[in-house]
Amino acid sequence: MDELDRLIINELQDGIPITPHPFAEIASVAGVTEEEIVSRIGQLLERKILSRFGPMYNAERLGGGLTLAAMKIPQEDFEQVAEALDELPEVAHNYERQHELNMWFVLATETPEQIAATIETIEKNTGYPVYNMPKHQEYFIGLKLEV
């Protein structure tokens, strides 16, 4: 990563301006053209340094369902269950974590009711119980990583 990559990552994590020329300011700071900024963002996406460029939706406001869930999976079945989750479009993230509950995933669905149905499908397909841990209160979302 060079200086321009870092500038783009640090600045745009705070938000992309909603103006006709949203990249004009960052381009002028960097001393490059807006097209160069855009093409660099494309490269960062291709290199998978960025996973998303655009809006972050609020699932609840859109009427969707969102939850965090966990399962306890024995080592020998781990890969297989991970693959089963990977195939479900409702699974947005899936992480292994070091704990007795070792598989942690986020479910995002078009309606809140589909959360329960998806959990049922997962339990049926894998044979393991799912601990559904819906959010009761949000205190802070400020994920920003400086580079």
Partner: protein, 162 residues
């Protein structure tokens, strides 16, 4: 839930795969949905204000940026202290997310979750120790769950793509 107009619906759908890679991305969205650049900008401002869109920005793959120690720190906070503690945790700049979630006693007694993304484990553990000490949580049960393998990281899909 908020009523979303059909133009908003089209804009949200067009944006689902991300903002177009163009120097005038809102003009490009307008072309796709049959609206002017100014209309798209006005609608997006409204959607942000309503909180339907949290923000327009970028999401990084934190591991690729050297943030390889990602810990979910979970706490069993007494219910009456919990709202106060949620707010206090959020004030530490190394805490990147903080939520209250459903607990499953006795197996899972934890109700307050916070995320710490760090460049190494040692630093993250020091930050957890700092939280315990400054917030007076020495007697409170907690656990630190570092992430292992990441099997999937993509944005959620809320709209069927036409």
């Amino acid at each position: 839930m908020i009523e979303i107009s059909s133009l908003d619906q089209k804009i949200l759908q067009a944006l689902q795969q991300g903002l177009p890679l163009a120097s005038r991305p809102y003009e490009e969205i307008g072309r796709q949905v049959g609206a002017s650049e100014a209309e798209v900008i006005a609608r997006l401002e409204q959607l942000l204000e309503q909180g339907v869109i949290r923000r327009l920005g970028i999401v990084t793959k934190h591991r690729q940026l050297g943030y390889t120690s990602n810990a979910m720190v979970v706490w069993d906070i007494p219910d009456d202290l919990e709202p106060e503690m949620g707010k206090r945790f959020s004030e530490f700049d190394f805490v990147t997310l903080c939520y209250r979630r459903k607990r499953y006693r006795p197996k899972w007694p934890y109700n307050l979750f916070c995320m710490i993304h760090g460049q190494d484990r040692e630093t993250v553990l020091q930050q957890v120790a700092h939280l315990r000490k400054t917030c007076g949580l020495e007697q409170v049960a907690y656990d630190v769950l570092f992430s292992g393998q990441c099997f999937k990281q993509r944005g959620a899909h809320y709209f069927k793509t036409a």
